[in-house]
């Protein structure tokens, strides 16, 4: 059942930026929905010199998490912003705790 396929070569140094349309397509959401996530500062895309919005993989990851929380737990958009902030804080505290636990 297994076929071996040509090797793919990837380089971590390549920074990937995503456009507004790409994020919508990857997450399968409307442009309104993405605008709403930006309005609630759930993600903070940068702006290119041409004025286009640029998203990094952290933004994409947060967008996906936000959509899952909305869909699976029926959290509204303001609640999603709050949950994500709290999750960030929890993550930081866990990392701190792990750091002080060393040795």
């Amino acid at each position: 059942m297994e076929k071996h396929e040509v090797m793919i070569v990837a380089n971590y140094s390549q920074e990937s930026w995503l456009t507004f349309d790409e994020v919508c397509r990857i997450c399968n959401i409307s442009s309104d929905a993405l605008h709403e996530l930006i309005a609630y500062e759930i993600i903070r895309p940068r702006q290119s010199t041409q004025g286009d919005l640029l998203f990094n993989l952290v933004d994409l990851h947060r967008t996906k998490t936000a959509l899952r929380l909305q869909r699976d737990l029926e959290v509204n958009i303001a609640g999603v912003a709050l949950v994500l902030d709290l999750l960030d804080e929890l993550e930081e505290l866990r990392a701190e705790a792990k750091f002080f636990d060393r040795g």
């Binding site: 059942m1 297994e2 076929k3 071996h4 396929e5 090797m7 793919i8 070569v9 990837a10 380089n11 971590y12 140094s13 390549q14 990937s16 397509r25 990857i26 399968n28 993989l57 952290v58 994409l60 990851h61 996906k64 998490t65 899952r68 929380l69 699976d72 737990l73 029926e74 949950v83 999750l87 990392a95 750091f99 060393r102 040795g103």
Partner: protein
């Protein structure tokens, strides 16, 4: 295939009301949602929950499920009744679900209620973007510092022309630059699962996980090292060779140093732009045990020569 006891998954009775089912789902979803849960197997449990709820919340599907009878046990070997045709009974069994991060429902579900992906015959022109895939690359701290080239192998589900799923083995050669950060992601466009009906493929995301190191701890791009010293090194000062990720370097310990002091080695942390991180050595004074009478006498002499109260200022 294994029978799934959906009532058991949601922890409700067979005659539970729609409201009971909804409430049980909400409670368990909060507990096991992979984005918020630290429970073991949260992802798997949540997938089971979703599948159970997908069936029990829908009177039509619940009715059909109940028709299978109540003598089945969770995990029991199961065959659908003769003449059971999932695809004509249930259209759009998985409507509203993107498979993202969750993977598909069980074989049991697909056989009873049909599988969205096999609908292509009945729904010509149906298109769906392939799901995104995630993989974690575990590397040592040394490799994260120096950079590394990794060959990783992934089993990827793929559908052939007849609509059958196959596992395909893929090898990906990944170049990891020096100074890669914990959790850093890389997106490989179009390397996720294939799309349906000619839609584009999903993407593959690789995530770096830096393994704990016995000597160094990482905090952002700074590296921390506990530095044990003797009381006389701390008191008199010393030149000490200490390890860094880039090799040994000399460190000057000032006289009268104390435990807990942080000594900074600028630029000796993780490579980064615009500036590399620093390494910090945290001083820890270790005292030699007094075992022989001679050693004990020596400590007593210290007590006389060095009157010292580290608990000065404590209440009497």
């Amino acid at each position: 295939m294994e029978y799934k006891d959906y009532y058991k998954v949601l922890g409700v009775a067979k005659k539970a009301s729609d409201d009971d089912i909804k409430q049980a789902y909400r409670r368990l979803a909060r507990k096991y949602h992979p984005d918020v849960s630290k429970e073991r197997n949260a992802e798997e449990k949540f997938k089971d929950l979703q599948e159970a709820y997908e069936v029990l919340k829908d009177p039509e599907k619940r009715g059909a499920y109940d028709q299978l009878g109540s003598n089945w046990k969770q995990g029991q070997e199961f065959r659908p009744p003769p003449g059971w045709n999932a695809n004509t009974r249930f259209n759009g069994a998985r409507e509203g679900f993107s498979e993202e991060d969750l993977g598909g429902f069980s074989d049991f579900f697909s056989n009873i209620f049909g599988q969205g992906q096999r609908r292509s015959e009945g729904f010509r022109g149906f298109q769906q973007r392939g799901s995104d895939q995630n993989a974690v690359i575990k590397i040592t701290l040394e490799d994260a510092f120096r950079g590394s080239v990794r060959n990783i192998q992934l089993q990827m589900p793929e559908m052939d022309a007849s609509g059958q799923m196959h596992q395909k083995l893929r090898t990906i050669k990944v170049t990891i630059p020096p100074g890669v950060a914990q959790g850093q992601q890389l997106r490989l466009t179009g390397q996720g699962a294939a799309g349906i009906g000619g839609a584009e493929s999903g993407d593959l995301y690789l995530e770096i996980d830096i393994l704990p190191n016995h000597l160094f701890s990482l905090k952002g791009k700074d590296v921390y090292l506990d530095l044990p010293v003797t009381p006389w090194e701390a008191a008199l000062g010393a030149d000490i060779k200490i390890p860094t990720l880039g090799g040994r370097v000399g460190l000057k310990l000032a006289p009268n140093s104390q435990t807990g002091q942080k000594l900074r080695l600028k630029g000796r942390g993780m490579p980064a732009k615009p500036a590399a991180g620093d390494q910090y050595a945290i001083l820890q004074i270790h005292t030699p045990p007094a075992q022989t009478s001679e050693q004990k006498e020596f400590y007593e002499k210290m007590a006389q020569t060095l009157p010292f109260n580290p608990r000065k200022g404590w209440p009497e």
